[in-house]
């Protein structure tokens, strides 16, 4: 290998990184506009529709808005309060954005390109920055847990009550929901037999059964947990504007605040990518995209389009949910994670393990079609049983009267712990 000139593989990786980072940043900017449009539509008002081309009267439905927003927030005064821990205060937004972007090294954003015929470049070229990484799912999991540091450190370094409360809330929430997230993910990994996300998509394309249909329970658990991991309503306790001003980024302004907000949007995009790739078939759509590695240019573009359309659909769902559900209280949040989602995730994992273990045995007795129907029926039966159990047995936790966490004698102690961060 030539040590001076970068190899074609390196150049291809750099090109992919450039495309991905540019695409993601643009997407994040325009998704903010989409979010504001959807919010306006839900609330029956017009929303941002005026900013078009500067110095003209052309409005373009407000498509210039992200540019104006970006310029405004970058040009704002970059104010650092005097009471912050300077090193960590500056490091936190960088850390969270870097971690959120690095996740995409293992996330495929399409299928494969047809052979290009460039010497030294393995054909076909996958739409994936790091195709050699065998543990893609775990990579995503690891880096999303690194992103917790950004929130936690940002909240702590701000040396501000609201910021600190937001940071503590968020770390508890993210750590709690990582477990159902992992359980939902394990079911898919078990069924696909690989930790590579592109392999998981291919497995769904080959069988034609998306894992959302084959593992409904796992899908629900993963969906809820990824809402919580992305800290979107109804799980936005880390920010909770009405209670905590802005939560962990209360003390941030200007470009640093922008980094936090972009990272948050990237988390939502990541969650949408994962939901689509692992449960909704990725680039596969029956009768249109086919399966396998042999593609034409049109096929490759079609697969990319299908994947993007699905991701956009999931993101719109995220945005609609935001205006449809009230925020959880903290005890409800924890009850949901530990007493509902964790058992449901375990039930799903056991069901998938049993189905996968006995699939060959069933195929021998009933033929492949019959085995397929049983493999579909068992998880759906488990889904309804799980739903019923969750409804009947778990504490409802919908009581909204104030709960007493301290007795009268504890008042002094309670005061101490409340003042800890002051």
């Amino acid at each position: 290998m030539n040590a001076v000139l970068p190899s074609p593989t390196t150049i291809a990786a750099l090109v992919k990184i450039g495309l991905l980072v540019g695409g993601l940043m643009t997407a994040a900017a325009y998704l903010v506009l989409l979010e504001r449009w959807i919010a306006a539509w839900v609330q029956d008002r017009k929303g941002p529709n005026r900013v078009g081309i500067p110095l003209t009267k052309i409005k373009l439905f407000g498509l210039g808005q992200p540019l104006a927003d970006g310029l405004k927030i970058i040009l704002k005064e970059d104010f650092t309060p005097s009471h912050v821990d300077r090193v960590l205060y500056n490091a936190a937004p960088l850390l969270i954005l870097a971690a959120s972007l690095a996740i995409f090294a293992a996330i495929p954003f399409g299928s494969v390109l047809p052979p290009l015929g460039i010497p030294g470049l393995p054909d076909p070229v996958p739409f994936l920055v790091a195709p050699g990484l065998d543990v893609g799912v775990l990579w995503v999991f690891a880096l999303s847990s690194i992103a917790v540091y950004g929130v936690l450190l940002g909240g702590w370094a701000s040396n501000n009550k609201y910021g600190f409360l937001g940071g503590v809330r968020s770390s508890a929430q993210l750590v709690a929901y990582e477990i159902p997230l992992g359980l939902g993910l394990l079911g898919v990994v078990l069924a696909a037999g690989s930790l590579k996300l592109d392999r998981i998509m291919e497995a769904q394309a080959e069988s034609g059964v998306w894992y959302a249909f084959a593992q409904p329970l796992g899908f629900i658990v993963f969906l809820v947990a990824s809402f919580a991991e992305a800290a979107r309503l109804p799980f936005d306790l880390p920010e909770a504007e009405q209670e905590l001003v802005g939560g962990y980024h209360t003390e941030y302004s200007g470009i640093r605040l922008l980094l936090f907000l972009v990272a948050e949007f990237l988390h939502m995009i990541t969650a949408a990518f994962l939901i689509v790739i692992m449960f909704l078939g990725g680039w596969h759509l029956w009768g249109i995209t086919g399966s396998g590695q042999e593609v034409t240019w049109i096929g490759a573009l079609l697969r990319f389009g299908v994947l993007s359309a699905k991701i956009l659909g999931v993101i719109v769902f995220f945005m609609l949910v935001r205006w449809s559900w009230p925020r959880f209280r903290f005890d409800q949040l924890m009850n949901l994670a530990w007493k509902v989602m964790l058992p449901l995730g375990l039930a799903n994992l056991v069901t998938v393990a049993v189905v996968e273990e006995y699939r060959p045995w069933l195929a021998e007795r009933l033929g492949p079609a019959g085995a397929g129907w049983v493999a579909l029926g068992l998880p759906w039966g488990m889904f309804f049983i799980g739903w019923l159990m969750a409804g009947l047995l778990t504490p409802s936790g919908t009581d909204n009267r104030p709960i007493r966490t301290h007795g009268p004698l504890d008042a002094e102690h309670a005061l101490d712990t409340d003042l800890v961060e002051a």
Binding site: M1, A3, V135, L138, W139, Y149, F164, V175, E178
Partner: protein, 289 residues
């Protein structure tokens, strides 16, 4: 003269580097008589003359270790390895040197990231990523959580000084020396069991290389040992490493894995028992609810 006393394959350079590292650690560890106002930040290191001497010695030790070590092969691989190893070592040293527990935790996270990077460079992808998921992602976040709640104003006196800096530094140095000279044999031609596989070597090597029979007494060490066995195998990088690791864990080391799982379960039940007893006592005292 001294070199004759050392085990075969050890250079004086390596010994000198480890000695310098030990001295550097001793000088840098927060001592009762040291500069009192040192905070956890990086700037704090440069306070006081002992700190400066310690840093110079530490840099010398790092350079010595880098020179004494074996080369990996490709230039890119070498540079990546040196970088992540440097991050791991500096992060580890800073973890024990800083006075603020929160900063210690952050440095520890950085050290873990370095270790994960080392594992990734050496081809143990699963272990590298698992290190981040388990340690940095879960355990350390819990540490931070508690530290932040428990550190309202300033630092407790027991955080500001290190109890036995000299003994601690010497113990660390001796451990490092033993490990590098007995297991790694950094500068000699390593025995077949301990070759660090470079990617190119693994692809080209004949599949008949002798396999290390690594039986492990400790429970916690089982996954690591399994990975070492896997990494020493020449076709470890061409086959699916995760599947191989899984087969190894749930085949040869099944008993160890089950024992570790049982231990965790017992610890979990114990924790619940302790908490519920404490709650009972609390409610009985208060007489409410």
């Amino acid at each position: 003269m001294i070199a004759a006393l050392l085990p075969t394959g050890t250079t004086p350079l390596l010994v000198a580097a480890i000695a310098a590292g030990t001295a550097s650690l001793w000088l840098l560890l927060p001592q009762a008589s040291g500069a009192g106002g040192r905070t956890g930040s990086l700037g704090g290191f440069f306070g006081g003359r002992t700190g400066l001497v310690g840093i110079v010695l530490g840099l010398a030790a790092l350079a010595g270790l880098a020179l004494a070590g074996r080369r990996l092969g490709g230039l890119g691989e070498e540079a990546a390895f040196q970088l992540v190893a440097l991050v791991a070592i500096v992060g580890g040293a800073a973890t024990v040197v800083t006075r603020s527990p929160v900063y210690s935790a952050i440095w520890f996270a950085l050290a873990l990231a370095g270790v994960a990077g080392v594992l990734l460079v050496l081809g143990a992808q699963f272990l590298g990523v698992a290190t981040i998921v388990v340690y940095a992602g879960a355990i350390l976040v819990m540490f931070l959580f508690v530290l932040m709640l428990a550190q309202p104003t300033g630092m407790a006196p027991y955080d500001r000084v290190s109890n036995e800096p000299l003994l601690a530094a010497i113990a660390g140095g001796v451990l490092l020396a033993l490990l590098t000279t007995s297991i790694g044999r950094l500068s000699a031609d390593p025995p077949a069991c301990c070759t660090i596989p470079s990617r190119a070597d693994a692809m080209n090597a004949a599949p008949s290389a002798p396999r290390a029979d690594n039986t492990v007494p400790g429970v916690a060490a089982a996954p690591v040992a399994a990975a070492v066995v896997g990494a020493a195998d020449p076709d470890a990088l061409s086959a699916d490493p995760v599947a191989r690791l899984g087969r190894e864990l749930f085949g040869r080391h099944l008993l160890a894995v089950e024992a570790a799982g049982l231990l965790l379960l017992v610890a979990l039940i114990g924790a619940i028992a302790v908490v519920s007893r404490g709650e009972e006592a609390g409610t009985a005292e208060r007489g409410t609810r």
